[in-house]
């Protein structure tokens, strides 16, 4: 049996009065590509962000890579993580954002090398070497010395993927990685992600690309109002034999 990398049970989260997550149960095994779909405001992005502790959890249990996210059990008590604990935990998880979030003052290769130098403490030369190799892998070797604003959206997103991969993550999180892209730039990013999935990377992907989820995903979860309404293989969930709510959503996005 393969290792479970993420196990959420009864995860709840509120922003003020607004209950965003109302008890999420979720599981991802090593090597799995797990896609999450659902209407906007259903809590899918918030849930993704709890996995690398960009959001805290109010109640329930969230175990990622054998750690209760945000706490360490010692002497029969849970001790909240320090800044350093969070940094160490996050350095093993890659994240790709909807709006790319490349460091605006650094060119592509420095964007990729930054965490290698600061977090992994690689010597500068080796970090840059690795960064160039990662850019080459996403097909952007010749753009290494461009600033983010000189790159197209699709190129920026591929740099962001390279930046996350350079850290050798055990798990990659994608938060609607193609939603901010012009339609003609979506495919180059999806191709990059597909290659990654075929290479055996564990991926959790919040997306509106139903076609991609069907083709590449191992599991598909449908989020609605802070819960997972349906979960199974993409074929099962997309068959439309589940709830009326899922069907209505699928009819709208297709």
């Amino acid at each position: 049996m393969t290792e479970v990398l993420v196990r959420a049970s009864g995860v709840k989260k509120a922003f003020g009065q607004h209950q965003v997550l109302r008890g999420v149960d979720f599981e991802v095994r090593a090597g799995e590509v797990s896609c999450i779909i659902g209407p906007s405001g259903s809590g899918k992005s918030t849930f993704l962000r709890t996995i690398n502790a960009l959001e805290t959890v109010d109640s329930g249990s969230l175990i990622v890579r054998d750690e209760q996210v945000g706490y360490t059990l010692r002497d029969n008590r849970y001790h909240p993580w320090t800044d350093r604990d969070f940094a160490r935990f996050r350095s093993g998880i890659g994240m790709v954002f909807q709006r790319f979030n490349l460091y605006g003052h650094l060119d592509a290769v420095d964007n990729v090398a930054r965490s290698l130098i600061t977090v992994k403490r690689l010597p500068k030369e080796r970090a840059l070497e690795r960064a160039r190799a990662e850019l080459d892998r996403v097909g952007l070797a010749e753009h290494a010395h461009k600033k983010p604003h000189q790159l197209s959206g699709g190129q920026q997103q591929r740099v962001a993927i390279a930046r996350a991969l350079a850290m050798d993550p055990a798990l990659m999180l994608f938060d609607e990685p193609t939603s901010a892209l012009d339609p003609e730039l979506v495919d180059e990013v999806l191709e990059t992600m597909k290659a990654l999935a075929e290479g055996g990377m564990t991926m959790i992907l919040v997306t509106h690309e139903i076609g991609f989820a069907r083709e590449v995903g191992d599991t598909l979860s449908f989020f609605d109002e802070g819960r997972i309404l349906e979960r199974g293989t993409p074929a099962e969930v997309l068959s439309g034999e589940g709830s009326a709510r899922t069907r209505a959503f699928l009819d709208r996005v297709r």
Binding site: L54, A87, N101, L102, V119
Partner: protein, 323 residues
């Protein structure tokens, strides 16, 4: 605004003949322009042809040794006070945004104190520091190794000025830096944290470098305003331009003449500083949204003097906003 667009080619008839465009006569502009010029010339003539102003003395003092010495002091005090203010301002801003409540309260207290009291009072206070601390001692704790100075010799007029103006600027500049830090997209912080950096690394390596690019235009403004604020040093006799000018006119009573001399120097320094600021903006403002501002009159003069005539294109290029 009236349309000033001009065709680049004349109209053509069907047979291909050119039909000329009649020149438009903007008579309203001429009348209003002439009126404005008249008022301005009248006001200027009151000063220029005033028999009580001895212009030959102005030229005489413009490059006199004492005035030049004052200019040098004004420049170095302005630069040093601005640097002190900027460095301290960044530290205060980071403290103010810190999660540590002690740092936050201290920063806010500092800002309140220095913004809540007139800079003139602060200058006099620093000048009279000897009253509180007759000696300033720096020594390694529990040892006899250290140094000791007489406060009155250490805190001269210009050092008091430097301290007072720098500490005061820091309080104002902290707010600018804080705004700059908060203007950096939240996504930058999230990306850095997701990449495994600590909050301190994120601030130092990702947020601050981008915030500083945003606040470079206001930084230039602070320096330009500092050049003139230094004239307050006159109250602590700091040997700056204004102090020296006032010492001269207190002896010979040529008050207006020496104020003109000082003004000419302040205007010259401001013009140079404005020019340097525009260079700084060009250098740093490329990948960020910036305040949109055309070249100032003095900038235009300097550019023309240095042979680089500003074109409409160059001016509009500085308006590019990219992100």
């Amino acid at each position: 605004m009236a349309s000033t667009h001009r065709r680049t080619t004349p109209f053509l008839t069907q047979s291909g003949d050119e039909i000329a465009i009649a020149p438009s006569v903007h008579w309203r502009r001429w009348v209003v322009g002439a009126l404005a010029l008249g008022v301005f010339a009248w006001a200027a003539s009151i000063v220029i042809f005033n028999e009580n102003i001895r212009w030959n003395r102005v030229w005489e003092y413009l490059f006199s040794q004492k005035i030049l010495d004052g200019v040098v002091v004004t420049i170095w005090v302005s630069i040093a006070a601005t640097i002190l203010g900027l460095v301290l301002g960044v530290i205060l801003a980071v403290m103010k945004l810190s999660k540590n409540p002690v740092l936050r309260v201290l920063a806010e207290g500092y800002i309140w104190f220095f913004r809540g009291t007139p800079v003139l009072v602060q200058l006099i206070f620093w000048f009279n520091l000897a009253f509180l601390l007759p000696f300033i001692t720096l020594k390694i704790p529990f040892t006899q190794i250290g140094m000791r100075w007489d406060t009155n010799t250490l805190i001269s007029g210009s050092v008091a000025a430097l301290l007072g103006l720098g500490l005061n600027l820091a309080a104002y500049f902290a707010e600018t830096v804080r705004a700059g830090i908060q203007a950096v997209d939240r996504g930058q912080t999230e990306a850095a944290l997701a990449g495994g950096m600590t909050s301190a690394q994120t601030m130092r390596l990702i947020v601050l470098p981008q915030a500083l690019r945003i606040i470079i235009p206001p930084t230039g403004n602070e320096f330009i305003s500092m050049l003139k604020t230094t004239s307050l040093i006159v109250v602590v006799a700091g040997n700056d331009l204004m102090t020296n000018a006032s010492q001269i006119y207190k002896q010979n009573n040529l008050i207006i003449e020496l104020l003109i001399v000082a003004s000419i120097w302040y205007m010259a320094m401001t013009a140079v500083a404005t020019f340097l600021q525009s260079r700084l903006e060009k250098r740093f403002g490329q990948d960020r949204v910036r305040l949109v501002r055309g070249p100032s009159f003095s900038q235009t003069l300097i550019r023309m003097a240095t042979g680089a005539i500003p074109t409409q294109r160059a001016a509009s290029r500085t308006k590019e906003t990219v992100r």
